[in-house]
Subunit: 173 residues, 2 copies
């Protein structure tokens, strides 16, 4: 199938927000999604963008049943390893179900890898749920290491009240 | 003990590089460290900084056996959640052994949490090794969630040859 991969613009935020929700539903966590089109426009496309995004688009004649021609996305940002230097973190990689198995997911991920290399990044990282065997197997076949399985890294998080409490402790100095 | 927490400048990179190596040695992974003072200066203190850093400093009269007055650091950067928006990732939090138990680690982490809140970040995330029980317990007491334990998130990574192979695949469109 014919398709193109291109950088997202603020005009894509409606479709990015739609697909973020579709992906969260697949991950059975759609109740956690608080993001909106407007927040994406502000956070991704102002002077200080917090993320970058690629869009997979199909021609009009291949648009989806619901009329969508933007059918996949990869959202990423730059991070930093104090051991290896610059890195890219891929927050989301998504292709709508009816467009899977046609190479769009690989093409999106490959483009992110190319951008990483062009920017002297030593690593491309992302996270996958342990029950999502199809994805874990897919990435392993491509040569990805599972750092949690091999080295024992756990992801920890403060949010909500816990983050407020941490921030509001006694003055530090 | 008297100490101060302040933003790092490029003049701190020699000490940051030293403490990065000390932390990696504690994590039994110092062979993986490729970073240098010069790379930190370029990546952290040019027009497009890839990270931010806080330094914990003690007065001259409390300097370490080896003569160091910069005795701890927290290195962090902004990331993005497609569910919750802006976030901070704390890559490293370190205090030299002879200065532990005096509140410097808590003060560094609290300052990172304050910066997160000031910048409308919903989350503060970081990773910990599963065998590092003292740290896991410390963070749990402060209210951190272990996302790997509770939801099953695994960290995956492409680097080196695997990243090159991914980037060099057949043209995508």
């Amino acid at each position: 199938m014919q398709y193109s991969i291109r950088e997202a613009t603020s005009e894509d935020c409606k479709d990015i927000a739609r697909m973020i929700m579709e992906l969260a539903s697949y991950e059975k966590m759609s109740d956690q999604v608080k993001i909106t089109q407007e927040v994406l426009e502000t956070d991704g496309f102002s002077n200080h963008p917090f993320f970058k995004c690629l869009i997979a688009e199909v021609p009009e004649e291949h648009k989806s049943k619901e009329g969508h021609s933007k059918v996949g996305y990869a959202l990423y940002f730059y991070t930093y390893s104090t051991w290896k230097g610059r890195a890219v973190y891929m927050e989301d990689l998504y292709v709508m179900p009816e467009y899977r198995g046609k190479g769009l997911g690989c093409a999106l991920m490959r483009r992110v890898a190319q951008i990483a290399r062009q920017n002297q990044c030593a690593r491309l990282q992302f996270t996958v749920l342990d029950w999502n065997k199809p994805s874990l197997d897919f990435y392993a076949r491509q040569g990805a290491q599972d750092l949690t399985a091999s080295e024992g890294w756990h992801i920890l998080r403060f949010e909500g009240v816990a983050l407020d409490t941490l921030a509001q402790g006694a003055p530090s100095s």
